[in-house]
């Protein structure tokens, strides 16, 4: 039985194709795909060497997706220790506490890609103390951006001690680019660390979990598809203006389109970007975000097509899923026997 990803929207199957097809029942196929995917991810975030060191310690395992995810998170945590801390202890500790609550709630709803909450309902109020008084622990990202048209409400039910007037919204599926309206060159989430806490690692685990077959099934793919379709609508006109990369005739230093991604010929992708009505979009962020969406749907497709090898837990997740595409497929396969 086939599984048509376009059930989630036009072009979703083509998006997954960008990440490459693989068969979860083949250990070689799975190992190759995950190793390639994690290496590309690490290249963008700058922890290739830490990942390579972790991978060299990995022994043969039956569950390569889970093993490489653990190695990837450990490598990311290691590389974060080599970066400048971007938060004070007070801020990072509050961020950690908030993320814990958001992730717990998001997991229950099957919506971890984008999490949102009324900050005044949180124990910390998503506020932390700095030298000027109380400040918001996260950026109030509710203006129209690349992931959505903005979130105006509902407004906080109680008065915020640090000035929250909107919900707290984070896009953890594309961490460290967590804000829809502020896509800095260095992903803002990479600054979520201090000597006392590393909330960035907690958030990065969500990126890793999207690649884990079981966790991938838990995520309502309709949420991911909706955000992707918005991202594509906002970025397609900007990307269409770029020349197509052709070896031998590409212009040195210029941003090109290459295999669906952005590429600077003989230059750094990290200093290039797109400018549009929704603000600046750094080129590495564009590639990384697109890959996160593509990888998510590639794993979704591979997982569904490997239904014969599902664990009882996966069967339970699929049959109880609010996602009609997944449920219909799972039920169809069960009926077919």
């Amino acid at each position: 039985m086939t599984f048509d990803l376009d059930c989630y929207g036009d072009g979703i199957a083509a998006l997954a194709d960008q990440a490459g097809d693989f068969d979860l029942r083949s250990s070689t196929d799975t190992r190759d795909w995950y190793t390639r995917t994690w290496t590309t991810l690490a290249d963008t975030l700058g922890f290739t060497q830490a990942l390579s060191a972790e991978l060299s310690r990995l022994r043969d395992t039956d569950d390569w997706p889970r093993s490489i995810a653990m190695a990837g998170v450990a490598a990311f945590a290691q590389s974060l220790r080599n970066r400048r801390h971007g938060a004070t202890d007070n801020q990072a500790l509050v961020q950690s506490a908030v993320l814990r609550q958001l992730i717990t709630a998001g997991r229950e709803r099957g919506e971890l890609w984008r999490v949102s909450v009324d900050p005044t309902a949180l124990e910390t109020g998503a506020c932390y103390a700095d030298e000027h008084g109380l400040a918001r622990a996260f950026y109030p990202d509710t203006a129209p951006g690349y992931f959505g048209d903005g979130w105006t409400g509902p407004p906080p039910r109680a008065e915020s001690r640090c000035g929250w007037q909107t919900p707290l919204v984070l896009h953890l599926g594309t961490f460290p680019w967590v804000y829809s309206s502020r896509l800095d060159g260095v992903g803002p989430g990479l600054r979520w660390s201090s000597p006392a806490a590393a909330p960035a690692v907690d958030a990065f685990r969500i990126v890793a979990s999207a690649l884990d077959p079981t966790s991938n099934l838990r995520q309502d793919a309709r949420q991911v598809a909706a955000i992707f379709l918005h991202f594509r609508a906002q970025t397609a006109p900007l990307v269409a203006r770029l020349p197509l990369y052709r070896p031998g005739v590409a212009e040195v230093g210029r941003l090109h389109r290459r295999a669906g991604l952005l590429h600077v010929h003989q230059g750094s992708l990290n200093v290039a970007g797109l400018d549009g009505p929704r603000g600046h979009l750094p080129a590495p962020a564009y590639n990384y975000i697109l890959r996160r969406f593509a990888d998510f749907f590639a794993v979704r497709r591979a997982t569904v097509l490997a239904q014969a090898a599902w664990t009882p837990e996966m069967t339970r997740i699929a049959s109880a899923s609010p996602d009609p595409c997944l449920r219909a497929h799972a039920e169809g396969v069960a009926r077919a026997g």
Binding site: T48, S79, V252, G253, Q266, G267, S268, V271
Partner: protein, 271 residues
């Protein structure tokens, strides 16, 4: 700073090669002015690195770290990778096609390259694209002045210097710019009094600042700005595990070896 003085000193000191102009952010070149640059190998990737790409790089672009690392490995100047990163941060903001001389207000850059060419063409081997280099200004990742960039290696290997037949736009290709920067750094380290890392940037701006100009306002200004750049970029110059207290070019393998490792063979029409 007196640019004509820099050029004069560069020539009279017999450098005959690259003089890098400090102190300004470059404008990006949208296109190669003459379209004559030929294709070199792409930037090295992380899998080719021999050094640490994660420690003490600050906000240095991830995809350029391997180039800086390779420059350090090839030149055998321990600790130079992060110094090159700080220099590129100032000279080009990491834009490989940075070009000083193609904008309205950059007449002085063209004047400098014109003077560099006119004052030195009789004492150096001829450049195939000398006239274009004279009108080019400066640019690339490390802010090289075009005629000196093309004469890179002349003091070391004379007429066998590898860029004599190349157009100035070649400096927009990071491997070629890296070659010029490596040669220049070893020259500074070998032939000048370099007391600390900030002295390297002073010499980069103008080698005379390491001689008679030492202690001058310009010298102090360039040094202070370099130290500030390091802080802004997030590189700790005091981290001796990645940058020794003093850089040394005693293990320098020679211009041909550095060129071969960084650039490889130039296309036939340029060699």
């Amino acid at each position: 700073m007196n640019r004509s003085l820099w050029i004069g000193l560069g020539a009279s000191l017999g450098i005959g090669g690259v003089v890098f102009l400090g102190s300004r952010r470059a404008s990006a070149a949208g296109a190669s002015p003459t379209g004559q640059a030929s294709e070199l190998a792409p930037l090295p990737t992380a899998s080719e690195a021999t050094g640490d790409l994660e420690k003490n790089w600050g906000d240095t672009p991830v995809d350029l770290r391997t180039l800086f690392d390779k420059m350090q490995a090839v030149s055998r100047i321990a600790g130079s990778a992060r110094i090159f990163a700080i220099i590129a941060f100032r000279e080009s903001s990491f834009i490989t096609t940075a070009h000083n001389g193609n904008a309205q207000g950059e007449q002085d850059e063209r004047d400098d390259s014109r003077a560099a060419y006119q004052n030195n063409k009789d004492r150096n081997p001829p450049l195939k694209y000398g006239e274009q280099a004279a009108e080019f200004g400066s640019g690339g990742l490390f802010g090289a002045l075009a005629p000196y960039f093309l004469w890179t290696g002349v003091p070391e290997v004379g007429k066998k210097a590898p860029l004599l037949g190349a157009p100035p736009e070649l400096m927009f290709q990071p491997r070629a710019a890296a070659f010029g920067a490596c040669v220049y750094l070893q020259r500074l380290l070998k032939h000048y009094r370099v007391d600390d890392h900030a002295d390297i940037k002073a010499g980069w701006a103008n080698p005379a600042l390491l001689g008679k100009g030492r202690g001058s306002d310009s010298y102090n200004h360039v040094r202070a700005r370099f130290l500030e750049d390091a802080i802004n970029l997030g590189i700790d110059l005091l981290d001796t595990s990645t940058i020794p207290p003093k850089l040394s070019a005693t293990a320098w393998p020679g211009v041909p070896a550095v060129f071969a490792d960084l650039v490889g063979a130039l296309p036939k029409e340029l060699s």
